[in-house]
């Protein structure tokens, strides 16, 4: 009976040096030849559990059994030797090296004992590429190839090292719908050939589509294992949080008024000569939430960067309430009433080692009301911080706690507490609920609706289809650096229609698109 399980993780506990208990007594059993989903909110411990299966981390307590044998996965090398391979969410590739060099890293074929046999490396790459039907260009530098190909390289890397058990960490996060379909086809093929696949995701529809069984984690503990055919998305969500998660956002109809943000003919060519923004024009009005949908990599990130001077366009205009914001410093842009919830909260959103208080006042540290002459008015600062912590339900021990000790959801709440509270006229929210727990997600979405209805213009950029469709009042779809579609109403929008525009299979006429300029 035990042999039916190719992987068994028993009673796994992991405590990090900073005190966070990522996993507590988790059991995970994977059957040979199945596609098994590992689900949970962020912070539930999925990634950590898989890192331990791949030898990147060591459990504080517990046992791991592979193929009926107890193992100590002390490093990726050991895990690889046991037939385990991992395809990471953030690709483990070296940009300046070629595909073939990345493939053979750590197992380089040698010429005359000392030098790299480049020809053999290329041959090996081509051989595996053909065998598994994953097309890659062996001599191209990894920094020059598209995202879909990067992922194929990652899968091939695992396969060429003899992996029979593949761990995929959020593999579809960066793929188009088309690429995702391709990926699923490849996974089904691999399953037919006897490979076992562990699939980490929190995209409920994918899990339902491709997996045989699923294990759900919550708060570092396992909530049990289920056959996919026995459950519905609502049931899964309830297991993940313990209550019915509202999948639809309650909001009244938007009544947009004056234009706040005006973007006209924005163009940008990146450092590799690729045109990332092609005459993008749109407007966002007071009282509305305009969503920007699209698969990542179609210019959304570049667009947001332009709006906050993290990058400069080659041409085009951007104004807020009639005043130009291109070329202005972030301080001046904020003075014009613009707030940004950044996509990468650890990079831009917080100073990890600083306290919650220090993080929450970072955009207003020079304000008169928080200063008494040359010195800070500590009482005022404490009051402001406490008020924000309360209003935004930030779960913490004290305002002096290090902000990176908080869970992802609470960190994001600190970020939005700051960005929403300084009386903005325009809020740009970039992937505002990515990687955070359902409770915090719900809170932030509700807040965005509330603020928009109070007269603030909200620009929502999200790769989460559900989010961008439910939360937005109107939305535009970006494809290839252009606006492919503008939908004034989102009520009757279906996934398949969205898919067509997101993949470039369909494109509205210029007249239809121009409606988003509201001129």
């Amino acid at each position: 009976m035990a042999e039916e399980y190719v992987v068994q993780m028993k009673g796994i506990t992991k405590v990090y040096p900073n005190g966070i208990a990522a996993n507590q007594g988790v059991d995970l059993n994977i059957r040979r030849g199945e596609i098994h989903a590992l689900m949970g909110e962020n912070g539930a411990g999925k990634s950590t559990l898989m890192k331990m299966l791949f030898g990147l981390e060591q459990p504080t307590e517990g046992e791991i059994w592979v193929n009926g044998e107890k193992v100590n996965l002390s490093s990726p090398t050991v895990a690889i030797s046991k037939g385990i391979g991992m395809v990471h969410q953030h690709f483990m590739l070296v940009p300046s090296l070629t595909v073939a060099e990345n493939m053979v890293l750590g197992m380089v074929p040698k010429k005359s004992g000392l030098f790299i046999d480049k020809k053999k490396a290329v041959e090996l790459t081509e051989e595996y590429s053909k065998r598994f039907n994953l097309h890659v260009d062996p001599t191209a530098k990894v920094m020059d190839i598209p995202v879909g190909m990067k992922q194929k390289v990652e899968i091939l890397k695992a396969l060429v090292r003899g992996a029979k058990i593949l761990i995929l960490d959020e593999p579809t996060a960066v793929l188009t719908t088309q690429e995702t379909t391709e990926l699923f086809r490849e996974l089904v093929n691999l399953k037919k050939d006897g490979y076992t696949i562990i699939f980490i995701s929190h995209k409920l529809n994918e899990i339902m589509e491709i997996t045989d069984r699923m294990t759900i984690l919550r708060g570092g503990r396992s909530m049990g294992v289920h056959n996919t055919s026995d459950v519905t998305p609502e049931v899964i969500s309830r297991l993940m949080v313990g209550r019915d998660v509202v999948l639809k956002v309650e909001k009244d109809r938007a009544k947009p008024t004056d234009e706040v943000l005006r973007v006209r003919d924005l163009e940008y060519v990146n450092e590799w000569g690729k045109k990332m923004l092609d005459k993008v024009s749109f407007s966002v009005r007071k009282g509305e939430i305009l969503g920007i949908a699209g698969v990542e990599g179609n210019g959304q990130k570049e667009l947001v960067d332009m709006l906050f001077h993290l990058n400069t366009p080659n041409s085009g205009t951007v104004t807020v309430n009639g005043e130009n914001i291109i070329g202005l410093s972030q301080r001046d842009i904020r003075k014009k009433g613009v707030s940004l919830v950044p996509e990468d909260r650890m990079l831009y959103g917080i100073a990890g080692a600083a306290s919650i208080q220090e993080n929450i006042i970072s955009d207003r540290c020079g304000d008169k009301r928080l200063n008494k002459g040359l010195l800070f008015d500590m009482k005022a600062i404490h009051e402001e911080t406490d008020r924000l912590i309360q209003d935004y339900t930030v779960l913490c021990k004290s305002r002096d706690q290090r902000v990176d000790n908080l869970s992802g959801g609470n960190i994001q709440k600190v970020v939005v507490a700051r960005e929403f509270s300084n009386d903005p006229c325009l809020i740009i929210a970039d992937q505002p609920t990515r990687g955070i727990d359902v409770g915090a997600t719900e809170f932030i979405r509700k807040k965005l609706v509330e603020l928009s209805r109070s007269g603030i213009a909200v620009l929502l950029v999200s790769a989460d289809l559900n989010e961008v469709m439910e939360l937005s009042d109107s939305l535009i779809v970006m494809y290839g650096g252009k606006i492919a579609a503008y939908f004034e109403e989102t009520d009757d929008l279906t996934d398949s229609v969205m898919g067509e525009y997101m993949l470039g299979l369909n494109h509205q006429t210029p007249d239809e698109i121009r409606r988003v300029c509201h001129e």
Partner: protein
């Protein structure tokens, strides 16, 4: 991990670092002593260690040595200033190592004013010290602006500037400003009323500059933790991207932190030279800048701990000097001691196993408490 445990951990770690350094020192002294056999060497080592650890505070007869202690306090003055300067610069993550050249330039400029400026008493020393501070603050604009505008390494630049300053001063001293009547190379004597008055009249040169140093400790602490500029400096040091995105003027603060460091180092130079000497005769870099780095590290970049760290380093330095005088151990041992102490002190993984145990204990306690609370509230998980 709660606050109490984390303080205990820091103390244990600091003590361990110091003990290791002392062990290294003892070993070196043992190996280099010229006794005949192991027994004699051990006795000499013990002697030397006694001078090192107890000498600065106590006379050989057993009573407290006020002279030695006041020597230690006097030696603190320059390194409090370079320590503060380094704290400010390191807090902004600027690895500007120019406090070394800075303190020398500050001393030189202050000396020039002290010799030649026709100013009345009280005004003269203050003007001299201010001139020294401003000169070094201005000099720090070079690595600071180049870093802020062009991203050039402030570390390499400041290191190069140290050498440039040294030779520039040596040139001026050699050619134009030296008092040729003396055997050594030195400047003309300062005007008598340029000297900073002494706190204790026992030859320790413990001047009122000590009080000024302590005042600046308070001022710099308030600046770093209670003003928006100090806050910007610290935030930029933690995450520069975050600071920029939050609207802080990163370039300006990068420059500010280094210029401030320069002002403090320059001030230290002026106070040291007017409080201790009657003429300017430094012809090599004095080493206060490097000690200042050790002080900043021991103080955790927090100005409040600078006096303690500076006292500790000055105490050890005095001990090494005593060892050199009475036991023949070269005084350069202090450099080795410094390096060992701060390299262990700044090692995050030093005693990490011990820290991990403390953390796990803390977490388990918290979980137990939380579980108890939940049970009391009647929720069964």
């Amino acid at each position: 991990m709660n606050k109490k445990r984390s303080i205990i951990f820091s103390l244990v770690r600091g003590t361990a670092a110091i003990l290791i350094a002392l062990a290294v020192a003892a070993l070196l002294i043992f190996v280099s002593s010229d006794g005949a056999g192991a027994g004699e060497k051990l006795a000499q080592t013990a002697d030397a260690m006694r001078q090192l650890l107890i000498g600065p505070a106590f006379k050989s007869s057993g009573g407290i040595s006020v002279k030695n202690l006041s020597d230690v306090l006097a030696a603190m003055i320059p390194i409090v200033f370079t320590g503060l300067a380094t704290c400010v610069m390191f807090s902004a993550n600027q690895f500007n190592l120019g406090a070394e050249g800075g303190i020398m330039l500050g001393a030189f400029v202050a000396s020039m004013v002290a010799i030649y400026a026709p100013l009345p008493p009280v005004v003269l020393p203050i003007a001299a010290i201010l001139a020294g501070a401003l000169a070094v603050g201005a000099m720090m604009l070079i690595p600071a602006v180049l870093k802020a505008k062009l991203g050039v390494s402030e570390m390499v630049n400041s290191l190069m500037l140290n050498y440039v300053v040294l030779y520039f001063i040596k040139y001026l001293l050699n050619s134009h400003l030296a008092d040729k009547s003396k055997g050594q190379i030195m400047s003309y004597p300062f005007q008598a009323h340029a000297a900073i008055p002494q706190l204790i009249d026992n030859g320790s040169k413990l001047s009122w500059g000590f009080v000024v140093a302590l005042i600046f400790v308070v001022l710099v602490y308030l600046f770093m933790y209670r003003t928006r500029w100090g806050y910007s400096i610290r935030m930029i040091g933690i995450n520069q991207d975050f600071a920029m995105y939050s609207g802080m003027k990163v370039a300006a603060v990068v420059v500010l932190s280094q210029v401030l460091g320069g002002l403090l180092a320059g001030m230290g130079g002026g106070i040291e030279v007017l409080g201790r000497y009657t003429t300017f005769n430094w012809n090599t870099l004095p080493g206060y800048g490097w000690t200042g780095i050790t002080v900043a590290i021991l103080a955790g970049n927090n100005p409040a701990f600078v006096p303690l760290a500076a006292f500790f380093m000055a105490y050890l330095n005095k001990g090494c000097n005593l060892m050199s005088t009475y036991c023949g151990v070269p005084s350069q041992l202090i450099d080795i001691l410094q390096a060992v102490i701060f390299v262990f002190f700044a090692a995050e993984q030093f005693l990490s196993g011990y820290r991990q145990k403390l953390v796990v204990k803390s977490t388990q306690e918290e979980l137990k408490r939380a579980a108890q609370e939940a049970q009391e509230k009647g929720e069964v998980k």
